[in-house]
């Protein structure tokens, strides 16, 4: 049953972006076709234990933060110091690195949105933010000392729960900004970032909240990185800036990255009435499951149904599709063909921001959503870096008897996949993100033209 609901505007954005000082710096680097991926010293240190050593990351120093290390272990942060004085010490005490980025991003959002203290602290203001959660430095060290070294529980300090619980990012942001509305974390693996924004959109659309700080993040953790490295799905054998190569024939895995993307959403009429700068309007959000019992592999059918849900009447065609595009062998080809199946072979472009900063896991959906917002602002399409050669042969799954999708190879769609950014009139962008467990999510945003 479709309910019309209220219109929702995006009025702020912020976060933590690899190598960048802020969202403006992020935009400048993206639109000048730069790669934000580097050799990661923390992975390099483990030499032959890991297969991949590249990542899109931002150091504590680059974020203006510093860890105060506990006597327990040189890897264990007792707390952090904010050298730029943005976050009070009491809030830093209950936060891991990801939560700190979340708090910084939330403050940036609120400032850009121009919300008053009364509006922020309202019962009508919510926080919906989460991270992916596959790895955790603080838990790993705390458990190691308890289980292996036999120390008392208090030796790891009294902030293990608050700094590691699943919804720590939302909790820390809420404690900082003191909103009185919803405070929750929505998890959906690599769709988490977009999923939280989608959930927040629904809260406002259906009249439950007027304002929400929403997004996703992934705090730096080698513990997370090695999980994917062990699955042999990380990119290997390329220079750092050439490692993330969505759609390219030579792609062999994704680049595991870390960062945070937060946005401020507000009921549209309210934002308009107070003269807010409306960065974008959210037209629709749709999510579903593949339903084929496969934890890892994408489903063409699931993605077809995703597009039917996002554009039920085939109107509202996007000018740009912000792809999930991870640089994995199977994922990219299924996705490209499902987009062609939905939108045809011309009249739009695809972009793959992961080609520029890698896969931020819990942060991917929201950081890439911010990239989509920047495309609307700048009226420029972002590239698919390193998509040098597209397969001129059919994929194996296209040759299967039950295949009902496009019967051209990926190379036929070269015109849709730009390797450099370029100017274009962009009124509408579709954002796609998928996750383990077969979850698919899609959001359509457009310029505010009223």
């Amino acid at each position: 049953m479709q309910v019309q609901g209220r219109k929702v505007a995006v009025v702020g954005m912020g976060g933590a972006f690899p190598t960048c000082t802020d969202v403006d710096d992020f935009g400048k680097k993206l639109f000048s076709n730069q790669s934000l991926i580097r050799e990661w010293d923390k992975a390099v240190k483990y030499k032959k234990q890991v297969r991949s050593t590249v990542s899109g990351f931002i150091t504590e120093e680059e974020m203006g933060l510093e860890a105060i290390l506990a006597p327990l272990d040189e890897a264990y942060p007792e707390t952090y110091v904010d050298r730029l004085g943005r976050i009070p010490d009491i809030n830093l005490a209950t936060a891991d690195m990801g939560s700190i980025w979340g708090m910084i991003g939330a403050l940036d959002c609120i400032k850009m949105a121009g919300w008053t203290e009364k509006e922020v602290r309202s019962e009508q203001t919510g926080v919906v933010v989460a991270s992916g959660g596959a790895g955790n430095l603080i838990l790993r060290v705390a458990w190691h000392y308890f289980f292996v070294h036999g120390v008392k529980t208090r030796i790891a300090g009294s902030h293990t729960v608050d700094r590691t619980m699943f919804y720590r990012d939302a909790a820390n942001i809420s404690c900082l900004i003191r909103n009185r509305g919803v405070c929750e974390a929505i998890g959906s693996a690599c769709a988490t970032g977009l999923g939280n924004i989608g959930y927040a959109y629904r809260l406002i659309k259906f009249g439950l909240q007027d304002r929400v700080i929403a997004g996703g993040l992934e705090g730096t953790a080698l513990e997370t990185f090695i999980g994917f490295d062990g699955m042999m799905i990380l990119s290997k054998g390329f220079s750092p800036e050439e490692s993330s190569r969505p759609f390219d024939m030579k792609r062999n895995g994704f680049v595991c990255s870390f960062g945070a993307g937060l946005v401020a959403l507000e009921e549209y009429e309210m934002a308009k009435a107070r003269g807010a700068n409306i960065i974008a309007v959210i037209d629709e959000y749709f999510n579903n499951s593949d339903g084929d019992g496969d934890m890892f592999y994408p489903s063409f059918g699931g993605q077809q149904r995703l597009w039917s849900g996002l554009m039920p009447d085939k109107g509202l065609k996007p000018d740009v599709v912000k792809m999930h595009g991870t640089s994995t062998p199977v994922g990219d080809s299924v996705e490209l063909l499902s987009v062609v199946d939905a939108l045809g072979d011309s009249g739009y472009h695809m972009c793959a921001p992961k080609s520029q900063f890698g896969h931020m896991l819990g942060g991917a959906g929201s950081v890439e959503f911010i990239a989509a917002l920047l495309m609307l602002q700048k009226q420029m399409v972002l590239p698919c870096l390193n998509s040098v050669d597209l397969n001129p042969e059919l994929e194996n799954f296209q040759k299967a008897e039950n295949w009902t999708g496009p019967i051209e190879p990926l190379a036929a769609y070269r015109d849709l996949v730009p390797q450099k950014s370029f100017a274009k009139e962009i009124n509408r962008v579709a954002c796609l993100n998928y996750g383990f467990g077969g979850t698919n999510s899609a959001m359509m945003i457009s310029r505010d033209i009223s």
């Binding site: 297969r51 062990g230 699955m231 042999m232 290997k236 934890m295 890892f296």
Partner: protein, 89 residues
């Protein structure tokens, strides 16, 4: 180590993989393919490799695993290669 001995050791490993139907392990030969004949989920190949390392006291290089085919004979060839590599050090 003889190929037949390695095959038997490999079968012992495969019997511990709960997502492989034990009935399919009857009549396994060197030509049996893990993916098409045993219907092993492709994500299990890495776990099988790790168990094989443990069973035979060897350690694969990343390139060994990247290049390994999905047939039983490919794994036996690799085990022999890596054992010989270890002995030559």
């Amino acid at each position: 180590m003889e190929r037949q001995e390695i095959l038997e050791g490999l079968l012992e490993v495969l019997r511990t993989v709960r997502t492989i139907d034990p009935a399919r392990l009857e009549g396994v030969t060197e030509e049996t393919d893990f993916l098409t004949d045993l219907s092993a989920p492709s994500t299990e190949l890495i776990n099988i490799a790790a168990k094989v390392e443990h069973k035979f006291g060897i350690e694969f290089e990343d390139d060994d695993i990247d290049r390994m085919g999905s047939k039983v004979k490919d794994v036996i060839d690799l085990i022999i290669l890596v054992k010989a590599r270890g002995e030559n050090k």
